[in-house]
Symmetry: C2
Subunit: 226 residues, 2 copies
Amino acid sequence: MASPPSNTSTPTAKVTSLTDLPCTPTSSWIKLQRATYTTSSGQSRTWDLARRTTTSASGIDAVSIGNIIRHHHHPKNPSTKPKPPSTILVLQFRPPVNAYTVEWPAGLIDKDETPQQAALRELYEETGYSGTVISTSSPVAADPGMSSANMCLCMVEIWLEEGQPEPEQHLDEGEEIQRVVVPVAELYDRLEGLAKEGYVVAAKLWHWAAGAKFAVENPGLFVKEG
Amino acid sequence: MASPPSNTSTPTAKVTSLTDLPCTPTSSWIKLQRATYTTSSGQSRTWDLARRTTTSASGIDAVSIGNIIRHHHHPKNPSTKPKPPSTILVLQFRPPVNAYTVEWPAGLIDKDETPQQAALRELYEETGYSGTVISTSSPVAADPGMSSANMCLCMVEIWLEEGQPEPEQHLDEGEEIQRVVVPVAELYDRLEGLAKEGYVVAAKLWHWAAGAKFAVENPGLFVKEG
């Protein structure tokens, strides 16, 4: 994994050993490790990190499900306005931050599952909706200064009929997840509002919404040169 | 912090105790903890998490510096094209993922520092550039299923004169950080290219770029209803 910058002939940094820092009692979910690594200038250093013990066969821990809900429009009354394209968010209590969070649906990838399979499974479990994966990101690092955790962003398109009722969730026993459907055009403002109410927004969702808002407000910055 | 959903009268979940899972040897940077919490239906459960030991007085761990570099244009030759609005990224070896990562400049907030002060300090140290903070996000959760870590995204505007040379970095001893300046309009494509070369892109930067790309390609989804 320690791929070098391809534009340099200097030696590349790499981890040379990884030892557990055993905890008492042991956690079944997370462990601490100390990486010993050599810098590109040949020095030996250490760095402590957290690692999930549950990483799937794919080497990818988790998937989050960016999603766009669109409605087929067959108005009986032609004056009916179609529902705006929306996205479904989940609100749940997250013990690590001792708060209710706002996130896109997400979850760990099960053994032998692909990110796309995990995305559609988690979307169905947490929201009841089925959709189609329209893109999958490279594996990206959740918090690379602190942990080895990585994830893919799957964008999923969900097509509904006008007036189709909200489906049942299929939660694991004990899971308590609320759904909120938000028009895409209002996503950033709604996240700001939820943060003011005391919800903690997940960094990844916030960044996606902030990037979209920035592009909408500064279209001139995104014009590619010929 | 366990703010309840304001639209419900059901009891809110909350962490009732937090105990360290002591590790040997101890890390100065991270610890594991076991949260005991009650669910909104009154059940008692546990959840293991990683926590930074370095959280600043503000209660916010870190800041990342989204940035836009713009050039004042005073062409001596009127046919000179201004440089495109760009953003500066940093490439560095990150032991937790045993890889070189692509991130916006970022860092931990020092004791008694505000997020904005930390943003301008880290930007200066890692890139040499000075700028102005134009927005600061609410504190958002880096990976709320796994850790308590939170951060703010500060957007910083950097104005340069045409032809101004790249300044010196002011790195801590032993820090090895490369800078890459990328036109904003090419950000997503460049991140994809770097991922193909073997770099690991930080999830937050990826999500910002993905949100911007999505908004550019689907402007109709972002039109607010009157």
